[in-house]
């Protein structure tokens, strides 16, 4: 299946785009996505944290991804 991932902050700089489309073998969990991305973009491994948001909520690593999920990478936040 293909998922679209929104990128923000430093992850946008590391990956070089504000969104990417990604093919994952079904069923795919959050940790599968993270492992694949970290392998392809090693600078992601240096971040003090890297969360995944699914449909505007922080997702557990073993949450299963669905094709129409709104997915985003959440590097360390710095609002306020």
């Amino acid at each position: 299946m293909e998922v679209k991932i929104d990128l923000f902050g430093v992850t946008k700089d590391i990956i070089g785009q504000s969104e990417i489309r990604y093919s994952l073998a079904s069923p795919a969990k959050v940790h599968h996505l993270l492992e694949k991305l970290k392998a392809e973009f090693p600078r992601l491994q240096a971040l003090s944290s890297l969360a995944v948001a699914v449909n505007s909520d922080y997702a557990d690593h073993d949450q299963e991804l669905q094709e129409n999920d709104e997915i985003a990478l959440i590097p360390p936040v710095s609002g306020g």
């Binding site: 929104d6 923000f8 902050g9 430093v10 946008k12 700089d13 003090s48 948001a53 505007s56 909520d57 922080y58 709104e70 985003a72 959440i74 590097p75 360390p76 936040v77 710095s78 609002g79 306020g80």
Partner: protein, 136 residues
């Protein structure tokens, strides 16, 4: 009033949003852009937000705060885009019957906002730039 905006924030509007005849206390926190950070000279900064999720998380914080304290009304507005020194990045306002809870609820709100709301700050210095990470 819970919002992410690319326009200057009106503190007066945020305060007005928490006005209540049953409230005797309003605490307002205003976060502004400082001219220095970790000894570096900040010339401007830029906030990026995942708007949809940011608003959802702020709404969740509001519900949590209302459950923990006798809050009459709560408002939070965060700016995004490019900001100069002295400009307002965030405003939180909370109204309660008594002042102690106003301070507690307002401080909890901004502390939590900084930890969980997906907003990112990039600082621009005289000679470089960096994405900032808040301490948890």
């Amino acid at each position: 009033m819970i919002a992410i905006t690319d326009q200057p924030i009106s503190v007066a509007d945020v305060i007005q949003a928490v006005q209540s005849d049953r409230a005797g206390a309003v605490d307002v926190f205003i976060g502004t852009v400082r001219n220095n950070s970790l000894q570096k000279n900040v010339v401007r900064l830029e906030y990026e937000a995942y708007d949809k999720m940011a608003v959802k998380k702020m709404e969740e914080i509001a519900l949590e705060v209302k459950a923990k304290w006798p809050v009459q009304k709560i408002a939070m507005v965060h700016r995004k885009g490019v900001l100069g020194i002295g400009e307002i990045a965030v405003v939180v306002a909370v109204s309660t019957p008594h002042r102690k809870e106003a301070f507690e609820a307002c401080q909890y709100t901004i502390d939590t906002l900084k930890q969980v709301v997906p907003i990112w700050k990039k600082e621009f210095y005289d000679n470089g730039e960096t994405w900032v990470a808040n301490h948890a």
